[in-house]
């Protein structure tokens, strides 16, 4: 689960990391008031950042600087309500702008290959790390974290010196890098990224110019499997940005992802569900969704799944592909029959059920006059043909 920058910064702050002050606002007037406050407190400028879970908000104009109250008002008006990759901006993070001296990248990721947490650092801050990796892999420094010992001081120091840091900044960096790993462990994150981690120039209480390291941006992806033991983090789920269909699917414990095509797919098992989508495409169609009903699904769950698929007006045909193992074919057949009886919109359906209790499933489906297929390839072809026969008459 992705969380918003402002929430990610809170989690970093909770682990003692240096994060700039900021406030989340949902209206232009709140933004203007907040900006006026920061400017009155001595900030030279404020930064307004769209809070959305998609990347590329800077390029899309979702991050703006303002030096006056009026500029802040104009910036808030421009950003709130704008659409970034299809997501409407509903909230802003606003705070004093930092005077940046130098930017770095620092991230902790779950590395599948080595089965370790890996901390990555780069002197090319502000850039997407994937871009840096493509252009110059040697520009990324890596340290592998022992699962029981954590990131050792010497490892963090090595990264600091590798980035060209010196003096008191080395110690500060070590604390930040270790704090990143601590955040990852405390919150069960798959990814904790600070980009940029910046050396900023500030004035201290006596008015002297000082420089320090500050986490200017933060991105955290939480492990969905661990959310049950972090009820507080579940509260950070941003329902504003969730497709209502996803909320519904989660409620019924269905793994569902909406896509752009016209052929609804209902499958048991994630690998087979992906394969079914691929075969729809291969047969000349486009899948409308990924849907894994999971192992051992009962009739009622199948009926819910069918409702989710039919909620999508683009769907012109449905392909059901079940390889019964734990899942019993007859249970799925009963669910399909029940779902069709309640269905308001009639869409052609091709059903293929093999494995556990497939014979009984066949009998039920034949009696109910369902169109059935023997093989997966055949089922995909039949579903594509059915979707095209319906044409624009949906």
């Amino acid at each position: 689960m992705k969380i918003q920058e402002a929430d990610a910064k809170q989690l970093l702050r909770a682990q003692g990391l240096p994060v700039p002050p900021g406030m989340v606002v949902r209206s232009v007037s709140e933004a203007t008031t907040a900006a006026a406050g920061y400017l009155a407190d001595g900030a030279v400028a404020v930064v307004l950042k769209a809070q959305v879970l998609v990347g590329g908000r800077g390029k899309a104009g979702g991050v703006k600087l303002a030096r006056t109250r009026d500029e802040a008002e104009a910036a808030a008006e421009a950003i709130l309500g704008m659409s970034i990759k299809g997501i409407v901006v509903r909230k802003l993070l606003i705070g004093p702008a930092a005077e940046i001296v130098k930017e770095f990248y620092l991230g902790a990721i779950l590395d599948r290959g080595s089965r370790r947490i890996v901390v990555m650092a780069s002197a090319e801050g502000g850039m997407e790390i994937e871009e840096v990796a493509k252009r110059d892999p040697s520009a990324i420094l890596r340290e592998s974290v022992h699962p029981h010992l954590g990131l050792a001081d010497w490892q963090a120091r090595k990264l600091a010196f590798g980035l060209g840091l010196a003096g008191p900044r080395v110690k500060a960096f070590v604390a930040i890098a270790q704090g990143l790993v601590r955040t990852m462990l405390a919150d069960d994150a798959d990814l904790v990224e600070v980009n940029p981690l910046a050396i900023v120039r500030e004035r201290d209480a006596e008015g002297n110019v000082v420089e320090r390291l500050l986490c200017l941006d933060a991105k955290i992806v939480l492990d969905d499997s661990a959310l049950p033991r972090h009820p507080d983090l579940e509260g950070l789920r941003d329902l504003d940005e969730e497709d209502p269909v996803d909320v519904e699917a989660r409620k019924h414990d269905l793994s569902f992802i909406r896509l752009d095509g016209t052929i609804g797919c209902m499958v048991n098992g994630a690998g087979l569900a992906m394969t079914t989508m691929d075969l729809v495409k291969r047969a000349g169609g486009e899948p409308a969704n990924f849907l894994d009903i999971g192992g051992g699904a009962r009739a009622e769950k199948v009926a819910w799944a069918m409702r989710l698929i039919l909620d999508d007006p683009k769907v012109r045909a449905i392909l059901v592909n079940i390889f019964g193992g734990i899942t019993r074919g007859d249970e799925v057949a009963k669910g399909l029959i029940e779902a069709r009886a309640q269905q308001e919109r009639h869409v052609p359906m091709v059903v293929r059920i093999v494995g556990t209790n497939a014979d009984e499933a066949q009998r039920l489906l034949r009696e109910a006059r369902f169109q059935t297929a023997a093989t997966l390839d055949e089922a995909a072809e039949m579903a594509v043909a059915a979707s095209q026969a319906v044409g624009g008459a949906a």
Partner: protein, 293 residues
């Protein structure tokens, strides 16, 4: 011989008195697997599966009393990491974890401990393994198999059944079929399994089934190119139509930052000498054309 499971398997079912554990234990026993014990803390002294299998409170007793060498974990996600550690700590060498939904950071620690104990973990979130005609451990339906000499390794469950059924229908039998699990952090990788197959005198060809996410298939391809050059190799990759940035059901099935795509995996496998099927039903024909009789 087969790999990982066989006639020599002496299996403990961890969580044997639970709904899942009992159901699958029965299926495994019917298939011919030698289930020597079950464990459920607090239910020691009972007998499971119509009185044929003793239940113990601890793995220590189960191992001591029955000489078990393999275990399979059916306990819920919150307790499964502990069950794996208990098995490894009490000397079990091969541990299958069927349980889905274990947090990834738990698995990092567990994988490290299992490695230190010198044991092997398959999974989590895996369907287990079957050596047709000998034994099955996990949840793979026994009916789809046929005895033979092709090794199958896959990340998923039902997709594996699909491929194996197609092979069986075409008269191509299997030495061992293994599902290694769909999570990001798993105990045994595609490459680990290929290493076992390469050393198995009863495996003449392999089928590798992968999916989007990570780079385990690419690594397996590179290993196979070097060490299995003369063995017939067929592969299938799921997720050619999966969008970037979305987790496709399995925790590990996600394309991120342009890496982990099906296209990259297919290209790596082809370059390593694999015949890559466009659909699971093509697998038998490709095996034949690669020289499998």
């Amino acid at each position: 011989m087969s790999i990982l499971v066989g006639r020599e398997t002496r299996l403990v079912v961890q969580g044997i008195t639970g709904r899942e554990g009992e159901f699958h234990a029965r299926q495994m026993q019917e298939y011919g697997t030698n289930i020597v014990a079950g464990t459920t803390p607090g239910k020691g002294g009972q007998r499971a599966l119509d009185g044929t299998v003793p239940v113990f409170d601890t793995m220590a007793e189960a191992v001591r009393e029955t000489g078990a060498n393999t275990s399979v974990v059916y306990v819920p996600a919150a307790a499964a990491p502990d069950s794996i550690l208990e098995a490894a700590g009490e000397g079990i060498r091969t541990i299958f974890c069927i349980t889905e939904g274990i947090p990834a950071l738990d698995m990092l620690r567990v994988v490290e401990m299992v490695r230190e104990a010198g044991a092997r973990l398959i999974g989590p979130n895996c369907p287990g393994a079957t050596s047709p005609g000998r034994a099955k451990v996990g949840i793979i339906p026994g009916s789809i198999h046929r005895e033979g000499r092709v090794g199958v390794v896959s990340r998923s469950g039902t997709l594996t059944y699909e491929a194996v059924q197609a092979m069986t229908d075409a008269g191509i039998g299997q030495s061992t079929c293994i599902g290694i699990g769909g999570d990001a952090i798993i105990g045994t990788t595609h490459t680990d399994v290929l290493m076992l197959f390469a050393d198995d005198p009863e495996t003449d060809a392999i089928v590798l089934i992968g999916e989007i996410g990570g780079s385990a298939e690419e690594e397996a391809a590179a290993w196979a190119a070097e060490h299995m050059a003369s063995m017939p190799k067929v592969a299938f990759i799921a997720g050619r139509t999966a969008p970037e940035g979305k987790r496709m059901g399995h925790a590990g099935a996600i394309i991120s930052g342009g890496s982990g795509t099906a296209a990259a995996k297919v290209a790596a496998l082809q370059a390593a000498g694999f015949l890559v099927a466009d659909t699971p039903t093509q697998i038998p024909a490709l095996l034949r054309s690669a020289g499998v009789r």
